[in-house]
Symmetry: C2
Subunit: 352 residues, 2 copies
């Protein structure tokens, strides 16, 4: 009989109040709480299959079709999560993991959040750990900070916590994906290039060199609370203001870091202009831009404003400043898939 393959699918999240700066590098403990929307896996997703087997000679990890070198320091660091989950499960077998994203990695589209959350989720099944989502979010956090938020669907807070061991720095769902069904995110792609400075290195530079950063943690804590309040009332105008303020604040902290970190490009600025003009003409916020560590925009809006937003962005599509736009609803978080969706060819112990 063949060993069992577990397969799960998860999705990226888009932070509305950003995580930028650690207070503990090893445990990945943040300087401030953050909050995000988990996107629908219908649009952007990571699918990951995992199989434990005595027949596997050594751990193997395929990402987007390529066998990863587990001797590589950076990959090993992330794979550390696999080791610690296996230790926790008191399992000794080697493991085969096959993962693929349906969107490009490293371009500021939160591929690591989606990938790590899905991996933690599938291993929870494969290793028979049966951890609750909160504990799973703590494990995912140690793989890649913002991944902990992708363990849940809907609007998700990652609590900063205050303990040195990180046990109180976990993710929590504030509202599920059905609370505000009109809310959508338009992922506006202007560049597919890999970013020059990794988020990890950039954050460290910011915390170490930027004297303005001292103000950031208390501001962000307050903004998370305000955002939850606006969300509860489904007050889009207020929420949009908080989202744009936070995105600009994070990029301002990057700009004022030494050496300066600049992820936004001219196309990003054109999108900001277009959305600000749209909001001004509308006499209130009908859309909010937010940018992670890259030049691609996420435009949060409501279904009823979608046509207006697309009209405002049309000139930038015509001029090819915008490559393409993908529209996503709010998603439900990771889930197990059927065997028919497995990425592993069991008989050959390799990717399908």
């Amino acid at each position: 009989m063949l060993d069992k393959v577990y397969t799960a699918q998860g999705s990226p999240n888009i932070a509305l109040v950003k995580y930028w700066g650690k207070r503990n590098e090893r445990l990945i403990l943040p300087q401030n709480s953050s909050i995000s929307l988990t996107l629908s896996s219908d649009i952007l997703n990571t699918t990951t299959s995992a199989m434990l087997s005595k027949k596997i000679k050594k751990d193997m990890f395929y990402l987007d079709g390529k066998l990863q070198n587990l001797e590589d320091k950076e990959i090993r660091e992330r794979f550390g999560m696999v080791d610690s989950m296996r230790d926790l499960a008191k399992v000794k077998e080697n493991i085969l993991i096959v993962s693929k994203n349906n969107f490009p990695a490293g371009s500021g589209m939160a591929s690591s959040a989606s990938g790590i959350a899905t991996l933690a989720y599938v291993l929870n099944g494969a290793l028979g750990l049966d951890l609750n989502p909160r504990d799973l979010s703590i494990i995912a956090r140690q793989g890649s900070g913002s991944a902990c938020r992708s363990i849940f669907g809907g609007l998700v807070v990652w609590h900063r916590g205050s303990r040195a061991d990180g046990k109180d720095s976990y993710a929590e769902q504030e509202f599920d994906e059905s609370y505000w069904p009109d809310l959508i995110d338009n992922i506006v792609v202007v560049s597919q290039e890999k970013k020059k400075v990794s988020s990890r290195a950039g954050m460290r530079q910011t915390v170490e060199t930027n004297p303005l950063f001292r103000q950031r943690p208390p501001i962000a804590e307050g903004r998370v609370e305000e955002l939850i309040y606006a969300y509860r009332q489904r007050n889009f105008d207020s929420m949009a203001e908080l989202i744009m303020a936070d995105s600009n604040e994070m990029h301002a902290l990057m700009l004022s870091t030494r050496p300066s970190i600049r992820y936004l490009n001219n196309n990003s600025f054109k999108i900001m202009d277009a959305i600000e003009n749209l909001n001004e003409e509308a006499g209130g916020n009908v859309a909010a831009y937010t940018f992670d560590a890259g030049p691609n925009a996420n435009i949060i809006t409501l279904s009823k404003y979608k046509d207006q937003v697309f009209k405002a962005l049309k000139p930038l599509q015509d001029s090819k400043d915008i490559l393409y736009i993908k529209t996503s609803g709010v998603g439900e978080g990771p889930r197990m898939l059927d065997d028919s969706d497995s990425l592993i060819e069991q008989s050959r112990l390799s990717p399908k």
Copy 2:
């Protein structure tokens, strides 16, 4: 006999630690001390002639050939300095002022600093006030904050001060123009457009809406001290680091203001990239960029590095991203000109 015409010439200054944010709007008292280099009037200058006369029916002010409407609120506000200086001199005659800049106004090239400093300077003569430069800087400050620094040549500090009446918020020369003769400023013009948001309005927005701004005043005070220390030792590498950090910090505070203020454009970012790459290749800072409230760059460097800087900027000149570059040494501050340089046609009581 004709009434006497006084004519003076002054120049802009380029701030190395920026002034951005007032603690008193009416008296123009800053949130932090700032420091600048006064540029040579050989390159950028304002020439202003002033004449008091009983024959003049009402005050008249010509700027760059155009008679200004003194009923206009904004112009009146700036012209307020003329009224207060006339009151101080206990003079009752009307006044004719003719002023011209040899560079475009309102494009972030500090035309108001140059204009107001030169006006204060020429009126000090025309009204027979004979104020010392420090008191004159206090008067210029009330016309346009950073103008107070253009009352002196060389490296000039504008002290924040702490008094409510502003008597201790004056400019002071730290080093004269001959202290570091190799120092040059390359004014890199990428746009001649007038800026969308005035500095005055932008500053107010920042102080009122930007929670990061709270950190700015103590950071800037420390940076002014560090910059004077580096300047004293003619340590270009250190000074350049402080200059770039401060420029980025100011623009970061603008970006994170609500609504967001963005003066830099893609060409500005290309110049930043070019200078950062140049410094990296050189293994130390051989040039520093700094941007005021506009997209045009000032590249501070030493004469011996000028060729390297121009080589680094050449691709941007070839692609027309850079319109032109003007190179200026450090200047000596305002001075009186001969009658032959007068801008006033005395017999006709009008500009020449």
